[in-house]
Symmetry: C5
Subunit: 403 residues, 5 copies
């Protein structure tokens, strides 16, 4: 190493005329890869000096917001700046060199982490940093942050989410590292809007910054919290999910116009119910399962499902009652039919009016004989009707009965 | 290196007034990246001293619990602390410096692993650690642990899971590394509740800690087991899966009111069955396949499926029998009809009562001729009926027959 | 190290006849792994010299274009070239050696990043680079770039996408690093076409290059933007999705030919609607959710869905009205039937023509009694008809009524 | 370095009383990070000594068995042990220190790989190893092995899989590295059962070990093959897939009881077929596609599908034939009906018996006129019937015909 | 380092009797981790010597072939061999040591890449390589290659794919690195067959090797192309997808036997169409979207879909026409019926034959009145019939009409 060092001196001496070279600055600072003064400890001359770390965050893109995992993946530009007290040179001594860019790993860096971050940065790290002649170190990192974010999906898909990014040091107290910033919330929002590329299915609303000092186990730390607020673009969910289900509900309502007598009403209603079940496969895909309240969209879905089912049950009951009534009519009228038939033939010689009279009296008899049965039925229906007020035409099928 | 070292001494001498610098402490300790005293072996002066490693774990978030792979992904904060006997300085000699933070890789660290962990930590590791003047080394790691956890899904989705995190050294025996802790179970639970962010679809219940010494191949080791207990939020599973299937079952029950005579009952019941089959696509997605007992939810699903099928089979049988009966009635009554028809005309001149009498006697004959056939049928139905008690109206369709 | 160095000299002296060895060049340049002159700072002798970085990009493959994440994954060949002013040798002194290939990590490299890149390069990096005798450094990298790209999916699947790759330095200003290129847009397109392997589901259209200087926070930087334009191959989407839905729509149109009287029309139409719902499961898979405008394909789908539903509602209404009319006909004609029946028998002694006359007059009466009811119905239908002009045979079912 | 070394000596001299320190052992062995004696070559004094590597594998968990990729992911504990001939110390000279634990990367390790392994280990590697005073090196690794495994899915889901893990050196021949073990197959099985945590959907059966020497390109190598045998827990597959399909088959069989005359039989059977098609979506998910034989479960599924289709075709044919017969009956009997009707009236004055006789003779005529048609039909049915023996009631519908 | 070196000499002198140690060879060669002679440049003494790299590739497993991404993942064994001219020793001087194995990173390695490779190798790299006494370096790597491969899916699932692996140096021209091989195509195929483990869903056919020299930008390079040809095992695709769709087509064909008069034909055909739609969900999963030609299987699917739809439209048309005809018949025959009915009664006193005659003449009249209507219908049908020849029984339903 001694020999290597001497050779190096020799070599730089050979092309010694290059006094404007960056290497001269590094030589002056003795800033080499192995100089532990620069990489081991916080770069202050007096340990009581806190290192002020300036931190600016711009939101470049919203890459992903995974409902299922409650994961938020923004792509941010982080500009960090701090004072390294071991670095100082007079630019005039070095042809006016004011800044030098260096490999990032040779200098101490503050251990700022984002509390919510759950995966190592996936984007390529910046390999270089820049130092100023007065000791300021500038680092720019473009980071893809996989962070956890508690989402409120009650109003899904009309929800607004706020995700936090809490920057803090891991091991340094507030007396060692202090976090400062120059852009305020509205400036950060404005700049972010300018550089923003893709926003996924979200509409970026704003970016707010707050500083605070938290203490845990009697250990005071500076925390800078960036809160990203965004609104979901719900258009496609409406078109793909909410509208079709609403359509099916309209169909189900419309089915009250279908005659109860044939079998097609039942078949129609149960097929519509099947289609809603298929839609539920989609709901199962898009909805996160991590909620303590049922999301409105699930209530909407299960509510429509339940209404359809109730109306289906009602249809079945009405059909059953109608059939029962007509069955007893049949029993009575079979004999009667023969009577009237015969009567009809019997009456060919007389006029038609007695037949009318006769039929009337017979049906009167029939209705009397089934009076107690019908009364039971109507009581059941009364109970059933009270339980559903939301459907528009309850009078429709009662009219069928009483009419 | 010699030259570099001399230069370094020179350089620090140049700004020699900085006696409050961290670097002075490191120089005093001779703590450099290459000093193998600090990084190679367990930092004790006498090898018989065990190193006591203090370990505190707080649960910051539950990121994922994958049923299919039996994987549990908590995000924990791990605070580790141990004594490095090579480190000691008098803070008074160094302007009162009591702690120094250093790059994490230059000191020996205990090889504590989590037995259940199946993937390398994905979260960014803390780059720094802190040393005290009396030799205590503090490390804080925020780790995303992908760990395996045996889940009991018998009661899914009303299950409570307990996942263990067993901390132990890989190669050190209990005489070398001992695990201690300061927070007890209730304190750890309380602190975790305080820092907890997202809980995925789970409700964190508690965190218990137990210490024990295990021996394997005559090798004694300290193990500290953190057990995280949590309860699944089952609300969405009820709304999305259990309720719809229950609704379909109600529909199927209600279908007993539909008349057996038309084709719509069959069509109705088989469509409801098809809808339950579509729901089974969802079950296949949400249910893990790794169970030795069938989960209750699968039993619920297949049970309802089976009941529906039985009732469908019954309907088919009843329809078959009714048709058979009516077919033989038809055969007999065709001739009879003509008889009565003719008779009716024949009797126009006489009174209507003999016709009634005649018809009665004929149907009596008909019933006698099919008596043995009906007896067989009723025996079959008796067997069938005994096999199903859970359905409410078994007397309904028997009445149809006997009525 | 001194000893090692002396030994090395000794060793190379032993086989000293090898004056044509690459090692001689490196020795002359003192280019070793630890020589920080080569790896620490921008390789210029005068810091005012900007480093011109020549950058050529060829598109080798389009690996993936994920609509959901708005991610574009091209596989590109990047040829980078710049001047290292510390490197120079006379080939004649070294047997004519003009180029030497070296491990890539021992020389300074410009910190060129691609702004849109969101993941570290997955392809293996080239381990070697080449230096020229006049100091030019050549690097060739085959990179799989996972980049974000704002997609316009309004015309999906007939869309053309343009994705940008913006090359720029992270920390160097335009006075330090300048980006130049030798291939123009058409040459880059031509070369790319030649080397292109797979294009995924896309048809590569062209590759355009633009240079510009941007300024941010008063910091001027050179940016070179490669724009890749490509067209989606929509054939399979037509065959798998658009055609089947169109077919179902045709079926639904054709169902106007089915008689309204039976139940099969309803059942037919609702099954076709169910099939379209199943197709929507596919749409949900292929469509990105990140759009501020509804894509045409979703409009197409929901539009056809809505038309089908309207026609279904109409069918139900028509059936209801028909039934109502026939029910009132029935009420009137029941009495009437007996009359005509009897009349028929009554008329056996007279001729058949009066019966015709009689029936006519009765139906006239019937139509008069329901005239006000029908008028209401026709007004409702008129409103309904105005709302749908796209269906070909609106006169069909009105004719049924009026006919 | 020289200076550093001297300082180090000085420092340890300062606290010279610590003769029981691990560092003393390392100093005695000159075991530093840069001593290439320990890390470069196989640690034997005479190159003809083979290094015996003792290898014990315990199965801690079965994490995943992916049918689609034929991937097997066990979590194993691997205990490796070998002799490093450069290491020896007398414990008595060092206060009785018998073992020292060291960072794993500073010693030579055998290049044992697992041939089937397709991904780098995902679990965190043990950072330490242990050396004995007599030179034995102990390494314990907890590895998650993503390995390829040829699966035999013919009997799925009742299959038993055997996956191999073949441990061998990459470049060392049998004269350099020999693999030995101390646990036999039954001991390894027993220990594995004891430590086993999760078994995914599998039931661990046993673990067998075999040693052999293979030669490739005249290069002899020791291979140790651990074979893990496990049985799939098929319960859930039965409940979720096999039972529902069987149920549908039963329904299809039962549908033979439904009358052929109405349309509901067809509708019923085709809906059941549709439900089986939905089940096939699940089969497509769970079945690997990499088989040269069709798995039994696919045969089961397609077989039931085919049987259902055949019975459906048969139903259609029978209905067609019945309709044809009745159509020709209708043609003939229309005239006939009028005859009998009239005849009935005609016969009012005479007795009823001749009508019976007359009707009999007419139907006789009718049957004669269709005799040749029926014969053709019955021949077709005979062919059809021979092709299906598995269904229970072939006589049912033939009786309908002949009856 | 000097001190360390002297100590090392001392230490090896202490056990100086070990003259058969590998370390002696390394000391003779001065082969240390820091000797840049071995790791920096191409190991030739005269730069004009090209380095011949011998490359043998065996296919160990086909792990994955992803249609969607056009990704091919083989697991290959790559045996590489080249001459390092700096390495030479006389085995006789070192107890007969002929080969030494070393950590892989300390020697120069050719920068051979595989052009198609899109991800870094996932399998663990071999940590060691072997050197011969005459300077040959042997490296064996087991690599999982994630490579891109242009697939031809036109004939899917009966396709044969050929995927290339093009080995070439990144920066070295043909005058620096030459690629040679010893196994020819048939030998490589044979050896691969022998070591092959899993083949995924493919059947390995053969492995061909070709050498060529390509030039790009006037830069000549050696390329060695291994082409792996394999055939898809299509059995499961036939069983799971092609057969079921064919079955549905047969059902649809068979539905021509169902009577047009009832509603069940329509319901049957549309349910079969729905089942085919569900099958299309599977097609959407298994088919890649990256094709310029529509794959045969998609044509098959959409073709059958279209045929079914046409036959469904036809059925609807036929039903419409039949209904229209019968409706006009009804209008005419209503009056007529009464006539015949009355006539029948009228004729009771006369004989039955005139009724026959009368009915005949009436139906004759009826057919005449509808003659022009039927002619139009038949012309439409003729057009329709010409458009479909593939269905077997077009005469069936025309006969219904004309009959």
């Amino acid at each position: 190493m001694l020999a290597g060092f001497l050779l190096l001196l020799l070599h730089t001496a050979v092309d010694g005329e290059s006094t404007c070279s960056y290497q001269d600055v590094l030589n002056y600072l003795n800033l080499t890869k192995n100089n532990e003064l620069y990489s081991m400890t916080r770069p202050v001359k007096d340990y009581t000096h806190p290192t002020q770390v300036s931190l600016e965050v711009l939101l470049y893109a919203i890459l992903d917001v995974v409902k299922i995992d409650q994961t938020f993946v923004p792509y941010v530009w982080i500009f960090t700046k701090w004072q390294n007290e071991h670095i100082y040179w007079n630019p005039n001594d070095f042809c006016g060199i004011k800044t030098v860019s260096l490999p990032a790993e040779i200098l101490w860096k503050p251990d700022i982490i984002i509390e919510e971050m759950t995966e190592k940065d996936k984007a390529p790290l910046s390999p270089h940093l820049t130092i100023d002649s007065n000791g300021l170190v500038h680092v720019q990192d473009d980071q893809v942050l996989v962070s956890t974010c508690r989402m409120h999906i009650f109003k899904f898909p009309f929800d607004i989410q706020s995700c936090k990014l809490s920057f803090k040091s891991v091991v340094h107290s507030v007396s060692e590292i202090q976090l400062v910033r120059h852009l305020n919330s509205s400036q950060a929002t404005e700049w972010s809007r300018e550089v923003m590329r893709t926003q996924y299915e979200w509409l970026f609303i704003n970016l707010t910054v707050t500083n605070k000092t938290v203490s845990m186990f009697d250990f005071q730390q500076d925390v800078m919290i960036y809160t990203i607020t965004m609104k979901r673009r719900s258009l496609l969910y409406i078109v793909n999910f909410i509208l079709p289900i609403l359509f099916f509900f309209l169909l189900d309502l419309a089915s009250f116009l279908i005659s109860d007598s044939g079998g097609e009403k039942l078949s129609f209603k149960v097929t519509v119910l099947l289609a809603v079940t298929v839609m539920q496969l989609i709901l199962n895909d898009i909805l996160p399962s991590s909620s303590d309240r049922i999301p409105l969209i699930a209530l909407y879905c299960i509510g429509i499902f339940a209404l359809m089912m109730l109306s289906l049950l009602e249809t079945i009951l009405v059909m059953y009652l109608m059939e029962k009534v007509s069955a007893s009519e049949d029993n009575n009228s079979r004999g009667e039919k023969k009577l009237t038939h015969c009567a009809c033939i019997c009456d060919v010689s007389s006029d038609g009016t007695p037949t009318e009279l006769q039929k009337g009296s017979i049906s009167q008899l029939k209705e009397e004989s089934h009076a107690e049965e019908l009364r039971e039925v109507l009581e059941m229906l009364a109970v059933l009707l009270n339980s559903r007020k939301e459907e528009a035409k309850p009078e429709y099928w009662t009219r069928i009965f009483s009419g």
